[in-house]
Symmetry: C2
Subunit: 228 residues, 2 copies
Amino acid sequence: MFKIAVVEDDVYLRDELIQTFHKAGYAAFGISEFEHVEEELCGLKPDLAVLDVNLPGKSGYDLCKNLKAKVSFPILILTARDTLSDELTALGLGADDFLTKPCHPDRLLARVERLLKTYDKIKSMLQLGKVFLDTDTYKLVFRDKHVVLAETEGKIMRTLMERHPAIVSKSELFSAVWGTEEFVDENILQVNMSRLRKSLSQINLCDIIQNVRGQGYVLKGQEVEDIV
Amino acid sequence: MFKIAVVEDDVYLRDELIQTFHKAGYAAFGISEFEHVEEELCGLKPDLAVLDVNLPGKSGYDLCKNLKAKVSFPILILTARDTLSDELTALGLGADDFLTKPCHPDRLLARVERLLKTYDKIKSMLQLGKVFLDTDTYKLVFRDKHVVLAETEGKIMRTLMERHPAIVSKSELFSAVWGTEEFVDENILQVNMSRLRKSLSQINLCDIIQNVRGQGYVLKGQEVEDIV
DNA sequence: ATACCACTTACAGCTTTTGTAAGGTAACCA
DNA sequence: TGGTTACCTTACAAAAGCTGTAAGTGGTAT
């Protein structure tokens, strides 16, 4: 069953939307903590988010832009602001669809269903900025190039992408990749880090893995921080 | 540069659309041979198609449905029929977006751009009915399961999918997979066919590769012939 | 200066993939 | 019914790719 997150400050409309989704067979969750929408959404990991852009205190557009750079679920903007310029802004920031209130439930459901169908094909894709990683095959895509990583390299890359923008310590990497922090030889991480960097340079992703002496590794640079 | 196909019988509107796309930096092609739209589109292999559903002689909805089962580029329906029911029909048949005439060029361009961006991630995906094949990694997806094929198996599967619904002769398979028809041992094809069938059964795709005695192999069954 | 951390290359064992060989099963035809 | 042809399957060994170990180099902080 698909999970849908509803970010909307009007409590009546929010419950109405949730009802609509429930009736259609989706698991719908309302989000009301507008201070930490981003964190809540990242924690909930929905298959789709319906977003109002008129949130108290926060700009929905900024939120949309930030989300799109790090999450891989589709975002549907549902708003009372109905000018062409609003629509262009939303789509330009990466929103996947734009509907204006009031919106017929059937239209909303049809649009949601279409987005879910499309994203079904790419839900194994992890995204960070302009870099994509298929977590099934460890195919890494950047611009028009791609490289298929070996399993160990892929696991390291995945961990770095998932924890971004945090610095990932060596022991964290050991548990994520080898399942234990009690590593015999620490060198093996550096060897694989070296291999990964060589693979990355094949698709022009040079120097995006940076070492922080004594602390660990972190992804850095335009390539992973820009929005798409 | 992205290629866009415009399927529209009104010659003035068609040229206007093509102009709009040209100005925005796209390569736009008008399609007027409505008897063979499907073949023309498959030959042109655009990155996106803009489709009017009121074509002379043909139902644009049928066209959309058929196309969606075999091509992997997005389809945007642009039509004068503006009822909710029209939109629901179009989206239900697999259309990726639905806009009504008259449509502001900027809105059309923004929608087109968003679709191109989304499909950029899945353009390496070959689709046949409900089956998807990533041609970079040979990851094969069916419903909620997937399997990563070895290179040889993947090449065979790719050829069968691309030539569907034709029967693919052994010599065709040899040139597609090994690059030569002058094969020494014909058995190697059968061995790999056997391996491929075993891989397919892992994701519940049993019996979709059928042999036609003396002629070759063909994909058959609900799984590859139904629309998505 | 020295200890420590990080990086790189080479190599050998292991796993996966690939083609060969050989034997079996199913369809077609006299 | 028996034989021929086409197709299918399993087992095995060579080749390719992946992974961890070893050993040595280079850089940084105190």
